[in-house]
Symmetry: D2
Subunit: 334 residues, 4 copies
């Protein structure tokens, strides 16, 4: 079967090759992969964020069809449309180190392959209204956004949520916040991106190129109150403005590190506004299933940018690095 492999550090260290298909064991399912999606962590991993054992199959997010099941499998059957979960051992309950040991495309082989053999517990069914390409975008970015907006943020009607840019986590956060009845303000770098955000339900867009002091613009938009939740995917370069723009008692969900690895948090507003800064990293399978129910109920569709063939995975990762995309970059096997 066709498979992509990282064989050396760097995006150009990825090649497409073939591997033999293994046997489907007890409790496992064989899934024909129809689509995959990319996350910024795939760029970081390809570029050497952490030591890898080469060759390593990249990517964490995919969707596909169950084509065969092993003995004792009850959760899925052939024909089911499914996504694998991101953290293979995080089924339920709060985060714990033992639940994060295995993540696809990082500590374990990923999903950039034609066929996956996977434990039944690690599969979740896909809402009927979604295509495979759409569904492939959900395991990592959408669930992180869901956790940021629903669990750490507890967005609800009457609240205001701020999202940054038009990457996957930000657009999913926008969509989930709207779904939960909250108002959304988007901060981004171009009118085209802001128009897209407005089309998805954002009430306001702030162009940070034209309005570098976007925190003051946020206060103006909110009668001086600030926003109840900021889903921060950027990190260092935004934290000071985020602290200024967040309301008393508000939350900053930190879900990304696009601009670096240390945030310099001013302590006085942290204390005097009792702000909570909450690290967020994906979620458990039960949360994924809850999210899927919400996505199905609202017939929500992920925002898709370009779709690539598997052989063009390095190009897709370069495209992600350029940050010119709006929504998710995907790989289609069809």
């Amino acid at each position: 079967m066709k498979v992509a492999e990282m064989i050396a550090p760097g995006i150009q260290g990825i090649r497409t090759t073939t591997r033999p298909l293994g046997l489907v064991g007890r409790g496992e399912a064989l899934v024909r992969v129809h689509a995959m999606s990319l996350n910024y962590r795939d760029v970081l991993i390809a570029e050497g964020l952490m030591p890898l054992q080469y060759p390593r199959v990249p990517l964490s997010d995919a969707s596909g069809e169950v084509v065969e099941v092993g003995e004792g499998v009850t959760r899925v059957r052939p024909g089911d449309r499914v996504c694998p979960i991101y953290y293979q051992d995080w089924m339920s309950g709060p985060i714990a180190p033992s639940k994060l040991l295995r993540d696809r495309g990082g500590t374990c082989d990923g999903v950039a392959t034609e066929m996956l053999i996977i434990a039944q517990e690690e599969l979740v069914k896909i809402p009927a209204h979604l295509s495979y390409v759409e569904a492939s975008t959900l395991p990592c970015a959408a669930l992180a956004a869901w956790s940021a907006v629903m669990d750490s943020g507890k967005a609800k009607p009457g609240q205001r949520v701020l999202v940054q840019g038009t990457g996957g986590v930000s657009l999913f956060s926008l969509q989930f916040a709207r779904m939960a009845g909250a108002d959304v303000i988007m901060v981004s770098s171009s009118e085209a991106k802001l128009d897209r955000a407005r089309a998805l339900g954002a009430s306001s867009g702030i162009n940070y190129i034209e309005t570098p002091d976007w925190a003051t613009a946020v206060l103006d938009l909110t009668a001086g109150r600030g926003v109840d939740l900021i889903v921060d995917v950027i990190g260092p370069s935004t934290i000071e403005k985020s602290m200024a723009a967040v309301a008393s008692g508000g939350v900053i969900s930190q879900v990304g590190v696009l601009s670096g690895f240390t945030i310099n948090v001013p302590v006085l507003p942290l204390m005097s506004k009792s702000v909570r800064i909450q690290g967020v990293i994906n979620g458990n399978r039960e949360a994924f299933e809850e999210m899927m129910s919400a996505v199905a109920m609202h017939e929500m569709r992920p925002v898709l940018d370009r779709t690539f063939a598997l052989e063009r995975l390095p190009n897709a990762l370069e495209h992600m690095k350029s940050r010119s995309h709006i929504g998710k970059l995907t790989i289609s096997m069809e």
Copy 2:
């Protein structure tokens, strides 16, 4: 000024008379009342639910315009459109007996009058899109629904909420649950009422006359799972079905007593499904303000049934008793 008074037990013990207008004291505002709304508790109180000191001005819910303010008033100014809060001493924080001592139209004189003198802390501003008649429906029923759906129920996208009938609390609960992204199932007695519920966003309606075993119908609609939240305004006659229709880990928010004063709760499903039965009674001023923000953000409009003149208050209460209404019964002073 014109005022309605209860002078004897029973709906027919209500008359319209006049009283002199008092002086506006420090920290107080004079409000010209434009509209009032009725709640089932007004029927119960008129009929002698608790001993009253006669004469007593009935009704808790009103809206009006500030026409004069006393010394030291900063929260409102003349021209502001406002509602008084329901529990006069419940500004913030959790429920406490000391915060419930004074409620209008019960332990204190109510709002069925042309002019109200009222402490500034007890006033909340009305969203711009609402008429006075619409706004008058919010202090009691809407806030109880908000507390039931948002605080005790924590409705969110992907969840399912069940509401019963087309009284004020039920329709507000439907609207708030939809606003928060949840799916709503309505149980009611007629197709006309169910059609109205569907028009407000309910995904399903169950006619309990045709389908007396509505709990089984709910399980059928939810793939056997049951609903996450039931806003129960009925009490005794529904609790057994509610316990059958609620999901594991679900909540029954008890907000009303239409059918009596004791609910016979089966303990085994209470335990084996870890159900929470949560008594709900209105909310504090901060919750009222949050709700107002949500109502404004979503331009939500209360469902209105008939509007009466103040002199016809007894007729309005009789109409409420008949339970043929859909939405709120109101009094207009215009």
Copy 3:
């Protein structure tokens, strides 16, 4: 190996016999059972609460030593002192019907046997300071008490907790509430029992034989405020007094059904005090492990009543039915 079996309805339908020992499979451990403990549910099950497939091994609670492990076992090793969890499939996260399908001594064979073969995921290690007999009391009653006091009740310093009688759940609730810094009031039927409760840290004891109106006594003890949490193991006969004795915003954790299967809840105080009635039934493995950490940290010891030999299990169950015990009834295999 020696094993007890229910072969017909009724406590006298239990006999001791022998069964062959099975094979230890992949992921399983062989545990030599040293002790077991009894719960009131064992009486109810023996007496026919639900249909059983005979013969059925009774009892859910045990402790023992791992003597052999199957292939792939990493959670335990020979020599480890362990307890099995109560619900075999409830590892983590909120309650769900699929997690409650298997409970020992009910839907599945129980622990009243010399040797158990058990999946490694279902075993939890025992704190070092506890004997086997002491540890055997923890899986059902202690975890239910932990859930009632810590999760549904969130007991903390300054709060007041009321417990009823001297059964297992009540005494564990007393101990956990004290551990969490709360004050405890015990309601019981004899001075001997109340003395025991005081020795365990209860600040007050109310003899309900001498003071049938114990709710008023509770209000007197709490300056009219009532208690923040009631762990109710009785059900029908106490709910009215519980509703009177609970504080505004308080919680009644319903963990038992000693007096029947329906509680008649007065709705007006439920609403006007915003009381929460929370069904509680055991907890997940993660909660069990948290509880074990707390028990170890505080070197807490369960209160033991009489210990029986396995052959005398029917006598032990009869003793439980008589309700003359203080604390847990146990079976020792030594």
Copy 4:
């Protein structure tokens, strides 16, 4: 009456003088001040943290006896022993900018005076077992510790809490965490301080002079798990070690700024451990009353360092700056 005043920036800009006593108005009480206590914020304010309107009476924390009440006062009566609350407008509910406008010894005159005229709503009664000097330590530091440990940290039996040094907030946090059944690890600079912490119930002490890498020592003490809660009063110089020492899903309550005003938070562990950093600043009056109930129930006594006369307030502040104290520095008027 005797009063201390800040008349110029710097600790030496404080002098003792006299002012005339005002009139007790409606809703107010006259309180004879018996004791005051110092907080590090008093040093920061004296040294010019924010612009002040001179002369300004310093200090926020006091205790005293009600000697006279104005018209309409019902909360207190002459003879009552009381403390004023810290934020004069934060009675209940979540933090909001409007509730923090007035704080004594900062934006308003403080308590460093013989007599205080104060609104009845701002007074809370003192537990009987405490002396005035002891009680004076509670409004600022103890309530901040209570909020950090109980509200943002939700300490409970089985959890581990880390506190830093022997200032007021740290020792109160130690005491409250123990009260709530948690284990406490103290990190401090001397054996004398660690001994004192052990005497108050800390299970372990780490001397960061001898063990600069105290985070690794914490991991060793907790089987690699880390602590559930860190009450961080230091800020910049500790955050990196705090992030290493906190458990997955743990909380860092930021309650102080002893070492500077910006914390450099490493984002990867923030995310991969889903850590919450929660700014904490005092609490509302209802929380203060809850804390007082807990202090009374446990007969908890604040740890006192030296006591000064009012005239020696500058010396007391210098002593605080030296950070050689263990527990609270106080002023006695007796």
